[in-house]
Amino acid sequence: MAVYKQQELRKPPISQVGIVRWLRVNLFSSKVNVGLTFAALYMLYILIPPLLNWMIFDANFNFGEFSIFGFEFGEVMATNTNCGRSAACWPFIYEKFDMFVYGFYPRDLIWRVDIVFAMAASLFVIVRLARNYQHKNKVLLAMIIAFPVVSFYLIAGGSFGLEEVKTHQWGGLMLTLVIASVGIIISFPIGVLLALGRQSNLRVISFFSTIYIEFIRAVPLITILFMASFVLPLFFTGGVDFDKLLRALVAITLFQAAYFAEVVRGGLQAIPTGQYEAADAIGLNYVQKNALIILPQALKISIPNLVGSSISLFKDTTLVLIIGLMDMLAMVNMTANDINWLGRETEGFVFVTITMWIFLYSMSRYSKKLEVRFSTDHKN
């Protein structure tokens, strides 16, 4: 009787499994791809090592003496001269860190700004924790109203026994965040009103809303900033003292409102006519109809685009540098003009770029996430 012995399973060819297969499929699937892969690798070889050398390996991280658990580390902090010019000098950023974050804000008062930062951070945590809480909308609304008010009194001071800090002392990342958040918070309701105005049946209102929105969207922000800083004060008779920051805020708010209006209009147009008709049928008036039926739905579907528009606003805040506000970008030249740290613009630019990039990248990730969460099609 023949004895059948089970043959051992042969292993799949080495080129069909594991990393080799992955490489074959993803990098070397055709002659063209082989060429492209090597070209890309060569490009990375040209770009990455010098960059890493400049930023990390050859760079100076000598932040001065410090001790952990009684062990002493480091030596005397590096200065501009012993840093060298061929690589980054991070002690410069270390020393000027406060300038980049707070500008000329009085050093003994920066705890007030820190409290605002901490509040903002805890706000995010609370929003996440309160997700399933029954009255989360009320909590949210209360915080959205309370936070700016408290922040304003903390940063500006002048009451509740807090020393006043004039706006020309505000600067750095703090100023960027102030402008962006004030711009977003104030321009949003204006934008909603403009969107409703544009969609309105009342000819006059719709006409002026449309003209406003289209005009603002057609011109660059910088022209509006210039208008605000040169012409706006002329519109008021003496006594009204417009400080620079307020002018910038007015310009940015008016600018952003038009963009928000277009986003909200997109949301309004996506609401089926039946919703309007149903609201009319149960006898709601215009305000009730929009506040209870239309806007909740329209705003919800516009959320991803509202975030996207806010990202643009955040990018645009850098423009206030041109009308002389001391935002983070302005600090690059300001700090590199320090007699002890002449010519360190590059480090400043890299630091500011990385900071802004982190903010913008996380915001854009967030908006992508929202887009997926709110998308109702069945693509995936």
């Binding site: 209102i205 969207r217 022209t223 040169f230 008779t237 850098t318």
Partner: protein
């Protein structure tokens, strides 16, 4: 039925209310305008600022180092406006061309089946899209000033293009008499190629016989002008830049400001164009390609007749919008001093003359016109490309 004429029903009447609201809005707007403008007039008089457009014909008195048209400080402020306008258009056109090229490459690379290439393209988009354009402009500008050599040690390409701290020097074409005939030949070539194409398309529609016209078209568009060019004895020569002393003479110069602006604008805008192109290509259903193959279309035909028309319908409108954004962003040249409209006219002239309302009004009007023009273009494109319903 009894007609109710009471005051209450008059107040509650929708039409009455609509009219009332509109009248109130009009009154508020009129009041804001009136008080604003009367204050403006008062303040302008109090500060002894001139009004009107007389300043346009005054002597400008400052130099502009980069101009497409002849300009000296003796020219008028109006001339500065034209110089700035032309420079804005130049930077916009250059930026649009390069942004489109980079955007196309990156957009297609993102969909590559090569993992490394598609990851690099994604990295490019995520990196440059999330850095504000103003920072990018300043970084490129500082990099150009820091890393480029002095005129003596400039990078030399074929003894005709030189790159150094002062800018890029390229040969300038000098047009001689008779060159206009070459231009006419170009136009004629394009028209002829178009007519030829139409003729063969009609033939294709009628008889089903397909004729390739690419060769003829290239011959007509490029060959015809070339023949004319040489028949007229090459009415065009190049003025090469040469190093004399410490600087280059002759040729055309592009300043570091121009380069930084052009690079930053095209690199930044390209990220948006790349995304538009990617979404356009992804919007075409796989079944479309398969159907085209099933009909027996060749690869090229399928691409030209089935895939591209559908992909472009999605990709072109956002791309045109980005062209407008690029043009608007070019006004950030103010930060580095490239003399385009906002910088030369809205900045320098404004500082000298002080008539902010007139000057900023003119500047805004230009952007408004550009924007209207692009909206018009967009409408035409949308109408042309919209799906023809049955």
């Amino acid at each position: 039925m009894k007609k109710d004429n009471s005051l209450l029903s008059f107040i509650n009447n929708n039409e009455t209310r609509a009219i009332a609201f509109q009248v109130i809005t009009l009154l508020i707007i009129a009041f804001v305008f009136y008080s604003g403008i009367s204050n403006l007039m008062f303040n302008i008089e109090a500060r002894e600022i001139h009004t009107g457009f007389a300043f346009l014909s005054n002597r400008a008195g400052f130099d502009i180092n980069e101009s497409m048209i002849a300009y000296t400080p003796e020219h008028s402020n109006l001339r500065v406006f034209y110089v700035g306008l032309i420079n804005t258009l130049v930077i916009a056109v250059v930026g649009i061309i390069f942004a489109t090229i980079i955007g196309l490459i990156i957009g297609i690379a993102r969909l590559s089946n090569n993992w490394l290439i598609s990851k690099l393209a994604t990295g490019y988009i995520e990196l440059f899209r999330n850095i504000p354009i103003l920072i990018q402009i300043l970084i490129w500008y500082n990099m150009a000033l820091l890393t480029l050599p002095s005129p003596k040690g400039s990078f030399n390409f074929f003894d005709s293009i030189f790159i150094n701290k002062r800018g890029v020097y390229v040969p300038e074409p000098v047009i001689e008499t008779g060159f206009v005939w070459v231009l006419i030949a170009v136009v004629l070539g394009i028209v002829l190629a178009f007519l030829l194409k139409r003729h063969f398309k009609q033939k294709h529609d009628k008889t089903g016989v397909y004729t390739r016209t690419v060769g003829y078209s290239i011959g007509l568009i490029f060959g015809l002008p070339l023949v004319v060019f040489f028949l007229l004895g090459s009415p065009l020569h190049f003025d090469y830049p040469t190093l004399t002393g410490f600087n280059f003479q002759g040729g055309r110069t592009f300043s570091p400001e121009f380069l930084a602006l052009a690079v930053a604008l095209s690199v930044y805008t390209a990220t948006y164009i790349a995304e538009a192109i990617r979404s356009g290509i992804e919007a075409v259903d796989k079944g479309q390609k398969e159907a085209a193959a099933a009909l027996g279309l060749t690869q090229t035909q399928s691409l030209k007749l089935v895939v591209l028309p559908q992909a472009l319908r999605v990709a072109i409108p956002p791309t045109i919008n980005q062209y407008l954004n690029l043009t608007k962003n070019s006004s950030l040249a103010t930060a580095i001093g490239y003399p385009e409209l906002m910088s030369a006219f809205g900045g320098t002239v404004l500082n000298q003359v002080g008539q902010a309302v007139e000057i900023l009004g003119m500047t805004m009007a230009v952007y408004l016109v550009i924007s209207l023009f692009i909206s018009l273009l967009l409408n035409i494109v949308n109408k042309k490309m919209s799906i023809k319903g049955r």
